[in-house]
Subunit: 69 residues, 2 copies
Amino acid sequence: MNDLDLGAFIKDHRKKADLTQLQLADLAGIGKTTVFDIEKNKETVRFNNLLAVLQVLNIKIEFKSPLTK
Amino acid sequence: MNDLDLGAFIKDHRKKADLTQLQLADLAGIGKTTVFDIEKNKETVRFNNLLAVLQVLNIKIEFKSPLTK
DNA sequence: CTAAAATTACTGCCCTAACAGTAATATTTA
DNA sequence: TAAATATTACTGTTAGGGCAGTAATTTTAG
């Protein structure tokens, strides 16, 4: 599917936002362990936690199919 | 963020693929209850389970930020 | 180099997502 | 219409994600 390294992508954006993992976790309202897991590409994280992180970093998520392309 | 109704979006694609929830669940390797939850927009589902469903339906996920736009 | 900060890693507990089974509705088909 | 199928809903059990706390390692700042 998307072989993008989402963890690295998020980490990069966090750095550019000048946030530590703990700060990002607090802003997203989740635990620091979860932020760490997400940046480590742990896919078993809950979708809402991932969304919370993306929202803080102003990253939008899009879904595309051959139908909607 | 994306105020798309992801559940309805997935359901629509499942219908177009002519799959029942149970068939989709089996193809994705997850339980039928989880498919039901996803179509009901339960955001606390695990990201990997959502990805499995998207993959079966040939839906790609993209992440966009003002930086990568 | 040294000190401070951040990241990575591990632990144990709690909570709940995931699941199969079942049943009640809803929808589709004959 | 009735029968078959699919969806929605609920339940009890189980596996593991989430979390704070802690500590070790790495990175950054002075």
